[in-house]
Amino acid sequence: MKAHRPHINRRQFLQLVAATGASLPLGQLCAKQSGPETRSETSPYENLKDPWLSLAEVQQHLLPTEKNAPGARDIHALVFLRNMLNAPDSDAEERGFILKGVDWLNDLSVKNHQQIFRKLSPEKKEKVLRRIETSRAGSRWLSLMMSYLIEALLSDPVYGGNRDGKGWAWLEHQPGFPSPTADKLYYKLGQPPRRRTKS
């Protein structure tokens, strides 16, 4: 039952970085928080900056809001993505790949439509994403975005997505029990005792 999650091909990643010009050092991209974001009164979509702002736009295009069906914003897909990319077990290379993909996306949007991605009409956004999909690295990037988006839609809300169980409710899914608690997230289970230190 384990998911098939091949890691990104390093050559593809380097190709992408070369194509876009690495504007951020990888270490800066890979700074990690200690735990998932907790629920706050302010919307997690307020005051967003890139790359998160563009990633949120991509997510919303991939999973749009409808009258009777939640979209990416409604389920807090960006919160989930950020939590997963900041999780202690996240792959630094994959994290860098996803974040760098925003530069690539905006470069292509400007080149083809003279505006960055989030300023484009839905039709032009669709064209840009389908264009990106035709390259191997681009398809990989979108495939990863889709994986995280589907996980955000249907994983337990404790991970930050599937807000208030909206994904489950929309798809009439009955979750199992007991559900995970914040202190027993998957990456907190089974860690070895801390390394002994000399006094």
Binding site: M1, K2, A3, H4, R5, P6, H7, H61, L62, L63, P64, E66, A69, D89, E126, L129, R130, E133, S139, L142, S143, M146, S147, I150, E151, L153, L154, S155, D156, Y159, G167, W168, W170, L171, E172, H173, Q174, P175, G176, F177, P178, S179, P180, T181, K184, L185, Y186, Y187, L189, G190, Q191, P192, P193, R195, R196
Partner: protein, 559 residues
């Protein structure tokens, strides 16, 4: 010279649990070295991210992996490290092993499975061998597993019913899903005998364990009630309570050291801090799943075993077994039934305890007469929602599916039908093209050579799988299922693995003797599924448990 422990056990799953509990109860000091963490009931949730989307219960592939060899159409072998392919070949690496995550379909082998060569004759290209023991030798231990591990079920006489020393299971069947009425009706119309599937899941509380809570998520999930008969819940907790058993988690054994007499003196392992440690014992038992057991013995060369323990006749790692067969699905659309029927089929929780054994043996001219077949089990599509949604991630044009089209597809796949699946289990014939060796290049995070596994299969396995799948399809059609599809392939299921250290009478053709002790190592036993020369046509876990109880009795006699 004094030893640290009487017995050191490497691994803690179904093949280790009976050894650990029986010998601890007998007053022996037992040390268990388990590579993974020690998770308890309070650590297990219905969390798809933990069970199935991330490496929570298995190593990260960058740290530990396999190299898998598959045959291409031109006959060449293509090898790829699993960190590259993403094909994760690990099962549960935690205290209690993968028995924590099984679905618990439990079947005994049948008497003929112990003498497959004598009963059905040789098949060219297959290394079929009779077992050195009989069903009668194993029967008391199959019975012991029913009570000690806890198996729920109901015996219904049928033509291939194996002999039993007790009339029925100690626990009644678990609750059943309403779809079994449809299965039973279809089978009756076809003249088939649908049988209740025994399960290693408690249907009532026993031995300090709760009964099943019927959450509807069982396979792939650790059990939070303790009802599932994992080695941890059923055996290890009680063993620790004796005061004679110590379980050391995060202890990765990388080598067994042997002396000039060939006796094992120490187990060398890395602790939780990745520091090398060693422990001595009078007697050692290895049970860390078939592939890793062969790998450990291959890596443990010594003065009398220059090519690895028990490998002086080049038998170690050979004749690895998986489970052959196939699987299929049929859909039952809610729009074509009334509301009550639809509500019944949507029920989540109870088990689909139905299987068919009508073709465990069959006579067909196309197969040359009397032939070994297998079993068919029915089950609902796994309720994991992320996995279900991932199935529509790509559209028919092989493009990524997104936007409103994705949403329509999601709505359809989640809400239009109940999907009934079948799984076929038949023998994976042992061949020279299915074996474990040490990879010459790829190392794990501690610097040890990883297991390289050649994944060849015998074409006969596919023919039998097709035959049995054809029978299962008739049942789905009779039930009125729509959009029926199935597949049979030689791609091995990583969670059903045995062989590699087959037991037998002759050291030249086997690694272990009939007691599951290495022929030429006086104090080393192997008690996971590695011992099996042939696998039978059922999941292996009940047989692994039973054999480990048998070997525990043998060891008790000598200590």
């Amino acid at each position: 010279m004094s030893k640290d422990y009487d017995i050191c056990v490497v691994g803690s799953g179904a093949g280790a649990g009976p050894i650990i509990s029986e010998l601890a109860k007998a007053g022996q000091s037992v040390l268990v070295l388990e590579k993974g963490p020690w998770l308890r009931e309070e650590d297990f949730f219905k969390d798809e991210m933990a069970c199935c989307r991330r490496s929570t219960y298995t190593p990260k592939l960058e740290d530990e992996q396999h190299v898998l060899e598959e045959q291409m159409e031109n006959g060449d072998w293509f090898s790829e490290a699993t960190s590259e392919s993403g094909w994760d070949f690990w099962n549960g690496n935690v205290v209690g092993g993968s028995s924590n995550f099984m679905s618990g379909y439990f079947y005994r082998l049948k008497p003929e499975d112990f003498r497959l060569l004598s009963e059905f004759g040789p098949i060219e290209g297959a290394n079929i061998a009779d077992w050195p023991i009989s069903y009668e030798d194993m029967e008391p231990y199959y019975t012991k597993v029913e009570t000690e591990v806890g198996i729920s079920g109901k015996i219904i006489p049928h033509k291939f019913q194996e002999p039993r020393s007790t009339p029925d299971f100690p626990y009644p069947p678990t609750l059943e899903h309403p779809i079994v009425e449809r299965i039973d009706a279809a089978c009756e119309a076809l003249g088939l005998q649908s049988l209740p599937t025994p399960r290693a899941v408690l249907s009532r509380p026993a031995n300090g364990r709760n009964s099943c809570e019927y959450s509807g998520y069982c396979g792939s999930y650790g059990c939070s009630s303790g009802a599932k008969g994992s080695a941890r819940a059923a055996l290890l907790d009680a063993a620790v309570k004796t005061g004679n058993c110590e379980i050391r988690a995060h202890a990765k054994v990388y080598r067994l050291k042997s002396d000039s007499q060939g006796r094992i003196t120490e187990a060398l392992y890395y602790d939780a801090d990745n520091q090398p440690r060693s422990v001595s014992a009078k007697l050692f038992v290895v049970a860390c799943q078939a592939i890793e057991t062969s790998r450990l013995l291959l890596a443990s060369d010594g003065p009398k075993h220059p090519r690895g323990l028990g490998n002086n006749h080049n038998q170690l790692g050979r004749n690895l077994l998986f489970s052959a067969g196939g699987s299929g699905t049929g859909e039952f659309h809610y729009s074509k039934m009334d509301k009550l029927e639809a509500a019944a089929l949507k029920t989540r929780g109870p088990f689909v305890n139905r299987g068919l054994q009508d073709w465990y043996y069959f006579n067909d001219r196309a197969f040359g007469g009397n032939t070994k077949g297998g079993v068919i089990d029915f089950l609902l599509r796994h309720p994991n929602p992320i996995a279900k949604a991932m199935s529509v991630r790509w559209n028919d044009d092989d493009n990524l599916n997104w936007g409103n089209e994705l949403k329509r597809d999601l709505k359809t796949v989640f809400t239009q039908s109940q999907d009934l699946r079948f799984e076929v289990f038949n023998d994976w014939l042992p061949t020279d093209d299915c074996f474990v060796s040490l990879d010459p290049n790829v190392r794990d995070k501690w610097g040890s050579a990883v297991a390289r596994v050649r994944l060849g299969y015998h074409p006969h396995d596919l023919r039998v799988g097709e035959y049995l799948s054809g029978q299962a399809l008739k049942v789905l059609r009779q039930m009125g299922a729509e959009n029926i599809r199935y597949s049979v392939s030689g791609s091995p299921p990583a969670n059903l693995v045995a062989g590699g250290c087959r037991f037998g009478q002759d050291i030249k053709t086997s690694v272990l003797n009939a007691d599951c002790r290495l022929h030429d190592v006086e104090n080393l036993y192997v008690t996971d599924g590695s011992f099996m020369p042939t696998g039978g046509s059922v999941p292996y876990t009940w047989t692994i448990y039973a054999n480990a109880f048998r070997v525990a009795d043998i060891i008790k006699q000598r200590v």
